[in-house]
C-alpha cells in the first residue's frame, strides 16, 4: 500500500518524502527511457521483450505518435541501475525499426502523469472533507451527477498517490486509474532530430554512389 501515514492536510512536506521513496527502489534508481521508433506494427512487444528477458519490470508505459511525422514515442519507466539502463538502450536500438533509445533520471526530464477518480456523489455530499481534499490537491472536478463525480488530477506520481490515499481513507472511490508517466527532456538539444539529420546525410551519400 502506498504511504498510509500521509496526512494530506500537510502534504506539502510529505510529498517530498514520498518522492524520494518513489525515485529509488531496492537501491535502484527509477529510470525513464524514451524510445523512438518507426511506426511499424509489432514493435511494442519487441520492446517490452527486451525488459522481460533481462528481468526488469516495466513500471509504466506510454506510447503515442511523436512530433516527428511517422515516428512513435515510448515513455517507459523502470527501476534499474545505470548499467542495466545502458544495456536496455542498446538492446532496444538493436531492433531494426527502433531509431533511438535514451534513459534519464528524474532531474533530467520534465514529467507528468494524469489520474481519474470516479467518486460517489452521495459520499461527497455527506462528508465535506472530501471536497476539501480535492481542492488542497489541486484536482479538478470534471463531471458531477447524482450517482458519481469524476475528478481529474495531473501531477507527479507521489501527488496522485497522496490524493488517492486521502480519498481511500474517506471511502468514496468507485474507480481509479492512473496513466503512465509522460516526459520530455530538459536538454536544449533534440537528440532524435540530430540522429535523423545524420541518417539523412548518410542516405544522400548512398544515393550518390
Amino acid at each position: 500500500m502506498p504511504n498510509q501515514n500521509n496526512d494530506c492536510q500537510t502534504c506539502g512536506k510529505c510529498d517530498k518524502n514520498a518522492r524520494e521513496k518513489n525515485s529509488v527502489r531496492n537501491g535502484m534508481p527509477l529510470h525513464t527511457i524514451l524510445v523512438y521508433s518507426e511506426n511499424i506494427s509489432g514493435l511494442l512487444s519487441q520492446i517490452t521483450a527486451v525488459f522481460t528477458r533481462r528481468q526488469v519490470n516495466i513500471e509504466t508505459l506510454n506510447v503515442c505518435a511523436s512530433s516527428t511525422p511517422g515516428v512513435h514515442k515510448y515513455t517507459i519507466t523502470c527501476y534499474c541501475d545505470t548499467e542495466m539502463a545502458e544495456m536496455l538502450k542498446k538492446q532496444m536500438e538493436k531492433r531494426i525499426d527502433v531509431l533511438q533509445a535514451n534513459y534519464f533520471t528524474d532531474d533530467q526530464i520534465y514529467i507528468q502523469e494524469t489520474a481519474l477518480f470516479k467518486l460517489s456523489t452521495p459520499a461527497i455530499l455527506e462528508n465535506n472533507r472530501i471536497s476539501k481534499v480535492i481542492r488542497i490537491h489541486d484536482a479538478k472536478i470534471v463531471e458531477v451527477n447524482p450517482t458519481y463525480s469524476i475528478v481529474e488530477k495531473t501531477g507527479l506520481t507521489e501527488e496522485i498517490l497522496s490524493l488517492f490515499d486521502s480519498l481511500t481513507e474517506l471511502e468514496c472511490i468507485l474507480q481509479f486509474v492512473r496513466s503512465g508517466r509522460i516526459a520530455v527532456t530538459k536538454s536544449r538539444i533534440e537528440k532524435l532530430d540530430e540522429y535523423i539529420q545524420l541518417r539523412e546525410k548518410k542516405h544522400a551519400q548512398i544515393m550518390e554512389q
Binding site: A49, K94, D97, K202, H203
Partner: protein
C-alpha cells in the same frame, strides 16, 4: 501497361534479383502457390528438397557460413514454420545470414485458429534479426529486398518472412525493389578516428598484447587485415570456436583455440596479458569462464560492428565500433612495428605441457581403441588441411575443432552459441552447395546423427559429396563426460543402443565402411576421400574418452584441467 503477376511469382523474381540460386525447402498447403511458381523457375532457382524443415534451416546456415552469401529457406505454415525455429535461433546467436520464407493462412483467416495457423511473427521475433508478415502482393518486392539487406548487412542474422496465402495468389504490377538504406538501422557505423588513434596508442604501449579472434573477422572478410595487423606488431592471437579459420592454424602467431575445451596457452595467457584485443567476438561464457577473474589485469579493446556487444559481458576500456575490415586496417596503419619475442615465447611452455599431457595421447595413441582426436587429425591431414570442417555438437565437435587444421578462410561450420545437436548433417549438405569445389568433412556423434538422420535422403537424392565421419562411442558422450566429472559417474540415460549405420547408409545408397582397428584408419580415410560423392565412415571410437583440457563451467579461464582425477 505493366505486366501483372501473382505475389508468388513476384517472390521468385525478387529472389532472382537478390542473386539467390539455391533454396532449401519443403512444400505444404499454405505455401503451394509459391511452389507452383517455383516450378517454372527451376532453371534459375535450384530448390533442394530436404526431409525436415529443421534440415532446411541448418542447410541454409551451412551454405551461408562457407559462401558468405545469404542462405534461403521456403517452408509451409504452422508445423513447417515451427520446425524452423531451432535453425532460426541458431542463426541468430551465431550471426548467420539467412532468410526464411514461410507460408501463412490468408489475411481473412488470421487470428481465427485456422488450420496450420501459427503466430510466426510472434514466435520468431526474439530469435530473428527482423521479421515481417507479407499481407499484400504489393509488398513482396519491398519485403524481400529489405529481408536480404537486413540479413546480410551489419552483423548478419536470420530474417523471417511470413507470407500470407492471399498475398501469394494476389496480383501485382511487379516492380523490382532495392532496399539499401533503412533510417533506423545503421549496418556500417563510421569508425571514430579518436578510437582508432587511441587503440593504436594502447597497442604501441603494450608489452604483452593478446588478440582474441572471433567470427566477426570472417563475417567482415577481414582475414587479410587481421594478418597484417598481427604481423606488423607481432601480436599473438587465440581464436574462438567460430573464428578458428580466420587465421591459419599453423600461422606462427596463432596460439590456438580459446574456451572451455580450447588450448592451454591462450586461456592462461588471457589472464597474463596487459592488453586484450577482442575482434568480432562476444565474450561468451564458454570463452570467459568466471567473469570476476577474467582478464582483470589487462586493459581491453573491443572491435565490433554491434554496439550492443560492448560492456555486455566484459567491461571494456576502449570500444572500437565498425566493420573490422575497416577498423583493423586503420589501426594497422598507425601502430609501430614491434616484436614481443619473450611474451610470445611465454606461450611455448604451455603448448608443450598440453602436448605432452593431452595432445600426443589424443592424436598419436599406440594402443587401445580408436580415439576421436586421431581420426580428426588424420582426416584433416589426408585432405591437405584444406577441407571444410562441419561438426555436430558434443565431443565430436570439440575434438573436431581442436584437431582439425585450417589453411583456408570460412572453413569451420559448427553450432556455437546454440549448441544444436542435429546441426551437422544438414549443415554439411548446405556447405556442399555453398562451396561445391571444396571437400566437406562432417564429424558427428551417434546421438546427433540420429537427430537429423532423415537428411540422408537429401544426400541420396542430390548426391551431395558429404564425407560423414561418424564417431560412434555408443554414448551421448559429452553429457556422459559431465556425468563422470560432476555427477559421480551416474550415467543417467547417456548409454545408447545403436542401429547398424552401415546398413542405414546402404539403404540410402551411400557407400559406407566401419573402422575398428587403428591400422585400417589411413586406408579407410583415403578410400572415403577418393570416393566421389557422399560417404559414411563409421569409426568405433573409445566409449569413455574425455575431451581435455577443460575449464569447468564457471571456473577461472586460466584454471584448466589437463586430466581428470578419478
Amino acid at each position: 501497361m505493366k505486366e501483372r503477376i501473382t505475389g508468388a511469382e513476384a517472390l521468385m523474381r525478387s529472389l532472382v534479383n537478390e542473386g539467390v540460386k539455391t533454396i532449401f525447402g519443403y512444400p505444404g498447403g499454405a505455401i503451394m502457390p509459391v511452389f507452383d511458381a517455383l516450378y517454372d523457375y527451376r532453371d534459375r532457382l535450384n530448390h533442394i528438397l530436404v526431409r525436415h524443415e529443421q534440415g532446411a534451416t541448418h542447410a541454409a546456415q551451412g551454405f551461408a557460413r562457407v559462401s558468405g552469401e545469404v542462405g534461403c529457406c521456403i517452408v509451409t505454415s504452422g508445423p513447417g514454420a515451427t520446425n524452423t525455429i531451432t535453425g532460426i535461433a541458431d542463426a541468430m546467436i551465431d550471426s548467420t545470414p539467412m532468410v526464411v520464407i514461410c507460408g501463412q493462412v490468408g489475411v481473412s483467416m488470421l487470428g481465427t485458429d485456422a488450420f496450420q495457423e501459427v503466430d510466426v511473427v510472434g514466435i520468431t521475433s526474439p530469435i530473428s534479426k527482423w521479421n515481417f508478415q507479407i499481407r499484400r502482393a504489393e509488398d513482396v518486392a519491398w519485403a524481400v529486398s529489405r529481408a536480404f539487406y537486413i540479413a546480410k548487412s551489419g552483423r548478419p542474422g536470420p530474417v523471417v518472412l511470413d507470407f500470407a496465402k492471399n498475398a501469394q495468389t494476389g496480383m501485382v504490377e511487379y516492380e523490382p525493389a532495392k532496399v539499401d538504406f533503412i533510417r533506423s538501422y545503421d549496418p556500417d557505423p563510421q569508425p571514430s578516428d579518436e578510437a582508432i588513434k587511441l587503440a593504436a596508442r594502447m597497442i604501441d604501449d603494450s608489452v604483452k598484447p593478446f588478440v582474441l579472434v572471433g567470427q566477426g573477422v570472417e563475417l567482415g572478410n577481414a582475414q587479410n587485415e587481421l594478418r597484417e595487423f598481427l604481423e606488423k606488431a607481432q601480436i599473438p592471437a587465440g581464436c574462438t570456436l567460430l573464428g578458428l579459420s580466420a587465421l591459419p592454424t599453423d600461422h606462427p602467431l596463432n596460439m590456438g583455440m580459446l574456451g572451455m575445451h580450447g588450448n592451454l596457452g591462450p586461456n592462461v595467457m588471457t589472464n597474463q596479458c596487459d592488453l586484450l584485443i577482442a575482434i568480432g567476438m562476444r565474450f561468451d561464457d564458454r570463452v570467459t569462464g568466471n567473469l570476476n577473474t577474467y582478464a582483470k589485469q589487462a586493459k581491453i579493446i573491443h572491435f565490433d560492428i554491434d554496439p550492443s556487444e560492448f560492456d555486455k559481458n566484459v567491461k571494456v576500456d576502449l570500444p572500437v565500433l565498425g566493420n573490422c575490415k575497416t577498423t583493423l586496417a586503420a589501426v594497422s596503419k598507425l601502430i609501430s612495428p614491434a616484436k614481443h619475442n619473450s611474451w610470445i615465447q611465454g606461450f611455448q611452455p604451455y603448448a608443450e605441457k598440453e602436448y605432452n599431457k593431452v595432445i600426443e595421447k589424443a592424436i598419436h595413441p599406440t594402443q587401445g581403441p580408436l580415439l576421436m582426436g586421431e581420426v580428426v587429425r588424420k582426416v584433416s591431414e589426408a585432405a591437405n588441411n584444406e577441407a571444410v570442417l562441419v561438426t555436430d555438437v558434443g565431443q565430436n565437435q570439440m575434438f573436431g575443432c581442436r584437431y582439425f587444421k585450417f589453411t583456408k578462410p570460412r572453413s569451420v561450420v559448427t553450432s556455437g552459441g546454440c549448441g544444436t545437436m542435429g546441426f551437422g548433417l544438414p549443415a554439411a549438405i548446405g556447405a556442399t552447395f555453398g562451396v561445391p569445389e571444396r571437400t566437406v568433412c562432417l564429424f558427428v556423434g551417434d546421438g546427433g546423427l540420429q537427430m537429423t538422420i532423415q537428411e540422408l535422403g537429401t544426400i541420396m537424392e542430390q548426391g551431395c559429396p558429404v564425407k560423414i565421419i561418424l564417431l560412434n562411442n555408443n554414448f551421448l558422450g559429452n553429457v556422459r563426460q559431465w556425468q563422470a566429472m560432476f555427477f559421480n559417474h551416474r550415467y543417467s540415460f547417456t548409454p545408447m543402443a545403436n542401429p547398424d549405420y552401415e546398413k542405414i547408409a546402404e539403404a540410402y545408397g551411400i557407400p559406407a565402411h566401419t573402422v575398428i582397428d587403428r591400422q585400417d584408419l589411413d586406408d579407410s580415410i583415403r578410400v572415403m576421400l577418393d570416393t566421389p560423392g557422399p560417404y559414411l565412415l563409421q569409426c568405433a571410437v573409445m566409449e569413455e574418452d574425455n575431451v581435455l583440457p577443460m575449464t569447468p563451467p564457471g571456473a577461472d579461464v586460466d584454471k584448466m584441467m589437463l586430466e581428470i582425477k578419478e
